[in-house]
């Protein structure tokens, strides 16, 4: 049982007190962080304050050095994400609709899903080589699963009454697919795509750390760490934090726009 929607305070009233404590803690944390960096307890080789990190970020971005690595990272993440998501949606629809497909493919996918994907890196290097392909493939495998599981679950938990309704109104298979089935799995697929984006960034950075031959933020950050350029490490981490946050926020906005009838249970 849940409260009727009218009982909730309007959005503005809920949000207004929200940002003030957040801003206060943010300033406090940043000041503490800067104070720790300036106190001289920690060698600047190992630690950088927010001011030094911001200065490093500006220097690295304006110098174009980090931007090159950033473009490499985003490129392989985007390619892998597209390929993996498309495959995940198709496989999810198939396994959601067909019990036979579910019975046969399910155990393989569960086993592959339980295996840490980054461990596949060696096999992918043997089969694909040391180029971009390894990174794209690893991202694709990681992006596949959230889309697959969510789409399949969306298909299976659809309302059977709507299927009967479509049949009663003599809908063609195409109409049923586009107007009955897809709208019902879209919210779950969008949730899956948010998870997939997060996983993709994680995996692409790991892949770049392990196979650094083409650069990328992962390569940049691990070599900065090896050379004890702490400010550069913090700057690159901040860039990835901004990227991940922007993508997550953008996707949840897009989800709200595309599926206005669906209210996500969280946030």
């Amino acid at each position: 049982m849940s409260a009727p929607p009218a009982a909730r305070p309007p959005a503005a009233a809920r949000r207004r007190p929200g940002w003030l404590p957040a801003a206060a803690t943010g300033l406090g944390l940043a000041a503490l962080w800067e104070a720790v960096a300036r106190a001289g307890w920690i060698d600047p080789l190992f630690f950088a304050g927010p001011v030094a990190a911001a200065a490093a970020l500006v220097r690295l971005v304006s110098g174009g050095d980090l931007l090159h690595h950033y473009a490499v990272t985003l490129g392989s993440a985007a390619l892998g994400l597209l390929a993996g998501s498309a495959a995940g949606i198709v496989a999810g629809l198939a396994c959601g609709l067909s019990p036979a497909a579910r019975a046969v493919a399910g155990p393989y996918l569960a086993a592959l899903n339980a295996t840490p994907r980054v461990a596949l890196i060696g096999i992918l290097v043997v089969w694909i080589g040391l180029g971009t392909g390894v990174r794209v493939a690893l991202v694709a495998i990681s992006a596949f699963f959230p889309l697959f599981f969510n789409t399949a679950e969306g298909v299976r938990s659809r309302d059977p009454a709507l299927d009967r309704l479509a049949r009663a109104y003599a809908a063609t298979r195409g109409e049923w697919f586009g107007q009955v089935l897809l709208p019902q799995c879209l919210p779950a697929a969008l949730t899956g795509s948010q998870v997939a984006v997060g996983r993709s960034l994680v995996v692409v950075v790991i892949a770049e750390i392990f196979v650094g031959s083409l650069g990328g933020v992962g390569y940049f950050i691990i070599s900065a760490g090896q050379q004890f350029r702490a400010a550069d490490v913090f700057a690159a981490a901040a860039l990835m934090a901004l990227t991940g946050s922007a993508l997550t926020l953008g996707l949840s906005r897009l989800g709200a726009r595309l599926t206005p009838w669906h209210r996500p249970p969280t946030l």
């Binding site: 579910r102 019975a103 840490p116 461990a119 596949l120 060696g122 692409v204 950075v205």
Partner: protein, 251 residues
């Protein structure tokens, strides 16, 4: 299709897959650099088992997962509960945790390596690093999604905050906590593989890494089979715990 026929179909497909793979490798004479037959992988696993290597590696990996994942759970569960219950705390820290969660965890790897070197502590922290925020956020959201009516009932009966915590929030959080551990478990295994890259001398991930450095496919596949088995066991174990301890949730 019944469950029995489904299982039969799966077993048949597995037999066809393994048999076809074995036959293809033998008939085509493909270089073992590119593809090795499943029998070679099985033989390698048998050798590891006979030499005691397998038990050693499994034990090392299990210990690392237990320590790292345990540390993550120890930090994340109380923090997630506090954020789920405390409105003020949520407003003050929530946005930063969301940003930290959206940041790919491996970017913090160089900091751990710089600060703690190639030590065991670093490896434990790497496993914890990958799991801590997903567990925290899932506990936080799970607790917040608890039925608000329960809390209103408790408050209407003048329950103290401690009573609300003991009788409403903690029992209600069992489900979300276990679900969040399932999410975190998979990430902890990614952390395990990454951690065993840095100075480990034993472990399932370590075996895969050694085989990768030698470009030796048999060792990679044998290690992967074991890692996958460990992952499945972890996932099934946590799913079982969820069904036992929170049977009202459909796991």
């Amino acid at each position: 299709m019944t469950a029995g026929r489904g299982r039969a179909a799966f077993v048949l497909s597995l037999a066809l897959l393994l048999g076809g793979w074995e036959l293809y490798v033998r008939a085509s004479g493909i270089s073992p650099f590119f593809l090795v037959p499943p029998s070679a992988v099985a033989r390698r696993l048998g050798q590891w088992l006979a030499s005691g290597r397998l038990v050693l590696d499994l034990g090392a990996s299990l210990l690392l997962v237990v320590l790292g994942f345990g540390l993550a759970a120890l930090l994340a569960i109380p923090a997630g509960l506090a954020l789920g219950v405390g409105r003020r705390l949520e407003q003050a820290l929530g946005p930063y945790l969301l940003v930290a969660y959206a940041t790919p965890a491996p970017v913090f790897l160089p900091l751990l390596l710089m600060w703690f070197g190639f030590t065991y502590a670093t490896r434990v922290l790497i496993v914890a690093l990958f799991a801590v925020l997903p567990v925290l956020l899932n506990v936080w959201w799970g607790v917040r999604a608890l039925d608000a009516a329960w809390l209103r009932v408790a408050r209407a009966y003048c329950a103290t905050p401690a009573e609300v915590l003991a009788h409403v929030v903690l029992p209600g959080s069992v489900g979300p906590v276990l679900a969040s551990l399932r999410v975190g478990g998979g990430l902890a295994l990614i952390g395990l593989f990454v951690a065993e890259t840095y100075g480990a001398g034993a472990g399932l991930g370590y075996q895969v890494i050694v085989a990768t450095k030698r470009m030796e496919l048999t060792g990679m596949l044998a290690g992967l089979v074991m890692l996958g088995g460990l992952g499945l066991a972890l996932e099934q174990g946590l799913a079982l715990a969820e069904r036992r301890l929170a049977p009202w949730r459909s796991a």
